[in-house]
């Protein structure tokens, strides 16, 4: 049977599938009377429209994984959500996932919202055949009979250029790229409206990575889902994402259409990230940004980027810049980038 998928919904009026507002999530630890609070996600607001790939970029320890773990409501101690809301709207339902009851969460997860975990090479149980993993994770959510379900799985695997044989294999018998594709198949089998992907291609070489990215893109277009795609690899963002949010030290510093951001980055940090990409024929050495990301337990006052920022001035050390619109669909949190307002 060839599954004729419904055409992707037109992008006429993109309504926000995900609305995050004022989200703060801190790691709170208390050991031997010493309390530490690591502000990994601090006051983040963003929207993801239907049928859109939203990229989140930033260096390691900038809070990317924490942000999406919070968005998926997959937090466990010591990570705590301090304030803010994460609103999903699936079809006619609006759910604040941070306040949802466990029953609602279970009904929603995998069916509407799936998650490709970081290190997704290890998402497959090493002692279960791939088919059993599919049955364990997805069978309940689809409400079909077992033969129907297995046929669906085989069709879906074919879409990702996988032979049905992989269902009989153990994960260690598959190559890294195949395992990656199986994981993606697992996350998309229920045709969720929303997919959260945490560095799904990091462990792959560039050739396999390119194939996997193309596949993610194709599946996303076919299912019409929205994706939040996290990676520190700017080249991947340039190729895959529609819109891009740049995170630095737990805060969103710039957000806009990927094309605009790569064309004209407003935030000095974004500019550095993009300047670090190699270009054909460019033999000039790439200067590293001096300094290290701040300790999120004691972030610097004012703008968190000011100790490393070439454009920093007195105000940056005192006040925290808010996200300001600098162009339609383009926001940035930097006094230097919005001089007319800063003055």
């Amino acid at each position: 049977m060839s599954t004729a998928l419904a055409p992707a919904p037109a992008q006429a009026q993109p309504h926000a599938v995900l609305t995050v507002s004022g989200l703060r999530a801190y790691y709170r630890t208390s050991l031997f009377g010493i309390n530490r609070e690591v502000r990994a996600v601090d006051d983040i607001s963003l929207e993801v429209a239907a049928n859109e790939i939203y990229g989140i970029a930033g260096e390691s320890s900038s809070g990317k994984s924490t942000l999406i773990r919070t968005i998926a409501a997959a937090t466990k101690p010591p990570l705590e959500v301090i304030s803010g809301s994460v609103q999903f709207s699936f079809g006619d339902r609006d759910v604040n996932i941070l306040r949802a009851r466990p029953r609602e969460l279970d009904a929603m997860r995998w069916r509407n919202l799936s998650y490709i975990m970081q290190g997704s090479m290890n998402v497959l149980n090493p002692v279960r055949r791939v088919q059993q993993t599919f049955v364990d994770f997805a069978f309940r959510h689809l409400g079909q009979t077992m033969p129907e379900f297995l046929r669906l799985v085989r069709d879906h695997l074919a879409r990702l250029h996988l032979e049905p044989d992989v269902l009989e294999a153990f994960p260690h018998q598959l190559s890294g790229g195949m395992r990656q594709r199986v994981t993606i198949a697992l996350a998309t089998i229920c045709r969720p409206e929303f997919i959260i992907a945490d560095e799904p291609t990091t462990a792959l070489d560039v050739v396999v990575q390119k194939g996997v990215l193309a596949m993610i893109h194709a599946v996303q277009r076919e299912l019409g889902s929205s994706i939040i795609f996290v990676t520190h690899d700017m080249a991947v963002h340039a190729n895959l994402t529609d819109r891009l949010g740049i995170m630095y030290a737990g805060r969103l510093v710039e957000e806009g259409r990927t094309f605009d951001i790569f064309g004209a980055p407003r935030h000095p940090y974004t500019a550095h990230l993009i300047a670090s990409l190699p270009r054909l024929g460019d033999t000039a050495p790439k200067p590293a940004l001096p300094g290290t990301p701040p300790n999120l337990a004691e972030p610097p006052a004012g703008c968190r980027f000011h100790p490393r920022c070439p454009l920093a001035h007195a105000r940056c050390r005192r006040e925290v810049p808010e996200m300001e619109w600098v162009a339609p669909g383009h926001r940035v949190a930097c006094f230097a980038a919005t001089p007319e307002r800063a003055a």
């Binding site: 279970d106 009904a107 290890n122 090493p126 002692v127 279960r128 364990d136 309940r140 153990f170």
Partner: protein
């Protein structure tokens, strides 16, 4: 399943030897079904006859045929070992997996219980148990008691595996996909710990048979149910070694040693097979 067994028999010498030894033992135990004498009748044959064609393993001073008596004894001993192993495995798996998965308070409560059982001195407890129960002592009660005492080490082992499994991405994904704790433990974690459990099951059978023999030889069990230990106990009561009735002791000891070796070889080779990674190593 059958092809797997056939391949194992053909290519794994440890497995083949183990299977042959256990088949001998089990076949021997099965002979108890066609025994011409009930196990507890005495003076049905002339006493103290050395091994001969008529009595292949000789006869005891109580006028029993060692061969037929041994078939009953080994059957009861095997059943005892298996019962203890199955019961204690259930306890160890449940407690180990739940403690490792849940963590926190549940883990601490279960593990303090577990540690209590680890430090309890087994042998005095079992002797004490015999003196408390006396005439009510039976095979089943002892098996239950030993199962309750024999799970603790393995529960700790399983817990340590479960703790590491808890941190794996596939567990996170399973939780995220909405599987309940019971489904995750049975579906995802149990297959992972099964090889090691299988191996420890064999060891546990060996341990319980050994302990049962020890207790029986000293007379701290129900001495009216024939087991290997009880057989040796009665041999000692009749000073068989002093009287030169060596066959009364030799054959039970030989049989129980064969059982031990067979179970051990089976444990080692099956473990190698159940673990899919080492199975792959063998293919390539």
């Amino acid at each position: 399943m059958w092809t797997v067994l056939r391949d194992l028999l053909r290519h794994n010498r440890q497995f083949a030897v183990g299977v042959v030894l256990l088949a001998v033992v089990i076949g021997f135990a099965a002979l108890s079904l066609v025994s011409p004498y009930p196990p507890n009748d005495s003076f049905v044959v002339p006493p103290d006859v050395p091994p001969s064609l008529a009595y292949p393993m000789g006869t005891t001073s109580r006028g029993q045929d060692v061969f037929w008596l041994l078939t009953f004894s080994i059957r009861n001993t095997l059943l005892f070992g298996i019962t203890v192993a199955v019961l204690s495995r259930l306890l160890a798996l449940t407690i180990g997996l739940v403690a490792g998965y849940s963590g926190g308070l549940i883990d601490r409560a279960l593990m303090s219980l577990n540690d209590t059982f680890i430090v309890i001195p087994l042998f005095p407890i079992l002797v004490l148990f015999y003196f408390v129960m006396r005439d009510h002592m039976s095979w089943g009660l002892l098996a239950l008691m030993m199962a309750c005492l024999g799970w603790a080490y393995d529960a700790r082992l399983i817990r340590s595996m479960a703790m590491s499994l808890r941190q794996r991405e596939f567990t996170d994904t399973a939780i995220f996909s909405g599987m309940s704790m019971r489904q995750i433990l049975i579906g995802e974690h149990l297959p992972y710990v099964l090889p090691i459990v299988f191996s420890t099951t064999m060891n546990n059978i060996n341990w319980s048979i050994g302990l049962e023999v020890t207790l029986s030889v000293l007379g701290f069990t129900d001495i009216n149910t024939p087991t290997i230990g009880v057989l040796i106990y009665w041999a000692n009561q009749h000073t068989a070694m002093v009287a030169g009735i060596w066959w009364w002791i030799l054959f039970p000891v030989l049989l129980v040693v064969i059982t031990f070796v067979g179970l051990f070889l089976l444990a080692v080779s099956m473990n190698e097979h159940i673990d899919p990674r080492s199975r792959l190593g063998r293919i390539t």
